[in-house]
Symmetry: C2
Subunit: 340 residues, 2 copies
């Protein structure tokens, strides 16, 4: 026997009530708060089936029911109509983002905005270098043997690294190096640069070979290895919202996970689908976050995707609202980037 419409309706009601009250919801309260048109007893039967199928469970005998991860999943997949943002929210977004000056600025404002609107922990990834192209490379002499390499990407990101040269280097040589790397790399996708950089070394005049090799290794580190590294975080305090009830007693594991950039990037960083994605509880591969849900989305100018953003909260969260907000903010940021 499968789930007929009413059973789904019961599940929806359970999820909604539980999200709102944080308390196990019983059959009687359900029929009182929703127009189900049937008696508590009937609802109880439906609940028994839903529990059988793994969508809800009882914390203990003779308590109300609570949705399981699977229950939330079903709710999100089949029972959610995307609810449009309120005008107030739209206005909040506009107001928050007016007068941005900078990529840094955009990212920081966005992450705060997300945290504030969803009242949850927000994460925003900087535009991924691997999806950017080189706009310009600059070499600034610091001393006779040291340069600062500055790379500016088309997404607005600016990365810089110190380059320790093997020996003293003359201003003219710096010039020549700068000219050559720019000539070869500007306009290229960062993902494609490793081969080009290698070529640069190979094609160098012998007397410049060591310097170029040195520069090349830093270039590779900067462009490729550290590429995904940066992100911004806000709203940690929101974790304490529902008391310590959510997150099964302690937020320690969650806070620990939030400190690991690698983990966060994994959470919001797989950008294959251009749509919003929801990961519920156990669906997160990270052990520390098995009592958390993550709603994430890619963003970027136009239809392309250059980075990810999202929010993290208890599995018991307002999915329709959160999804709508994340999606709206992602789109807004994309538009903002497109203007530059």
């Amino acid at each position: 026997m499968s789930l007929d419409d009413r059973k789904l309706e019961v599940l929806r009601a359970i999820v909604q009530d539980y999200v709102e009250t944080h308390e196990p919801v019983g059959s009687k309260a359900l029929v009182e708060r929703h127009q189900l048109g049937v008696s508590p007893a009937t609802v109880r039967n439906d609940m028994a089936v839903l529990e059988e199928e793994g969508y809800i469970r009882q914390p203990h005998t003779s308590a109300g029911r609570v949705p399981t991860d699977a229950g939330y999943r079903l709710f999100v997949d089949r029972l959610t109509r995307i609810k449009p943002l309120t005008p107030a929210e739209r206005r909040a977004i506009e107001r928050f983002m007016v007068g941005v000056v900078d990529l840094d600025d955009v990212v920081h404002r966005t992450v705060r905005l997300l945290a504030q609107l969803t009242r949850q922990v927000a994460v925003v990834q900087y535009p991924s270098l691997s999806r950017s192209s080189v706009r310009h490379l600059e070499l600034v002499p610091i001393s006779t043997t040291r340069l600062t390499l500055v790379m500016i990407a088309d997404t607005g990101r600016v990365e810089q690294r110190l380059v320790e040269m093997p020996g003293p280097i003359a201003p003219d040589d710096v010039w020549e190096l700068r000219r050559r790397v720019n000539e070869k790399l500007v306009g290229q996708k960062l993902a494609d640069t490793p081969l080009l950089v290698q070529k640069l070394v190979d094609e160098s005049a012998p007397e410049r070979r060591p310097a170029m090799a040195c520069l090349a290794s830093v270039l590779l580190e900067t462009l490729v290895e550290r590429s995904e590294e940066r992100l911004a975080l806000a709203g940690t305090a929101n974790l304490t919202r529902g008391g310590v009830l959510d997150f099964q007693g302690t937020l320690r594991p969650v806070l620990e996970a939030l400190e690991e950039e690698v983990i966060l990037l994994k959470l919001i960083g797989d950008l294959e689908p251009s749509t919003t994605r929801v990961r519920i509880g156990d669906e997160n591969e990270i052990d520390n976050l098995r009592s958390a849900s993550v709603v994430s989305s890619g963003y970027g100018p136009g239809a392309t995707i250059v980075g990810g953003l999202g929010v993290l909260g208890p599995t018991r969260m307002d999915y329709p609202g959160t999804i709508a907000t994340v999606r709206a903010v992602a789109r807004y940021v994309g538009d903002l980037l497109a203007q530059n």
Copy 2:
């Protein structure tokens, strides 16, 4: 009547035991764990005096005693011998910092190191721009009306900002602008730049005046207004260490405070004395942190100070150990900066 030596010794014992056990400490337990050479009754008399003077208090009648903020203060001021770092800790510092490549790298490693050694929340301020000098300014054309301004400071900090020009600007003009700002500003303390920037505008050729004015306003913003902005944070998860017992029930206010950069900068940022400073509980002006203590120190190459760092934890913390660690790390970072 003032506090004789034994009473101070009793206070020290109370602080030490309480920090270790997290439980109110009574007279009997005290004489058992420390060689005070007197009976519990005597200790009780001393405790009565200490309580009278406000250094300790009872959570309720007939419980043991707990240090007050004033008690910790006295302990820190008069009863703390600085305990040297263990060799293990020294090694940890060395190991953590080997192979740094970058200012960003230094700061991030330092903050994690601090958090790990003290098992508390760590904060590290980037070298303050207002205490740095300009090493180089670079202008990179992005489009005909847009430049990216990159400033490199002698402390290694690199700041960048987008400059929106009033009209199209030719490469030669960019060159000229770059030459002039570098000529005038390189080597100058950032604190002194506002006047110089103004002069630059005034002395410009009329046809270049608007462009220079535009650049100048961004320069001022970058160099002066946003100057203290950056810092790094780590170890938030350590807040959950002592259960939720510390921080009177909820870490919410603490987490909120940690999200406000302004607040953090105020905590670690007043660098007048070159020594380590301790702020205990109520001594913090920020309401949200009245159940927290902050141990902070300035750091910088040689005897100068370019930024602050510190840790934040419950008032019930191991002050001698924390102070020693913060001081050692600050000195180490200073040495590291001196090498560049």
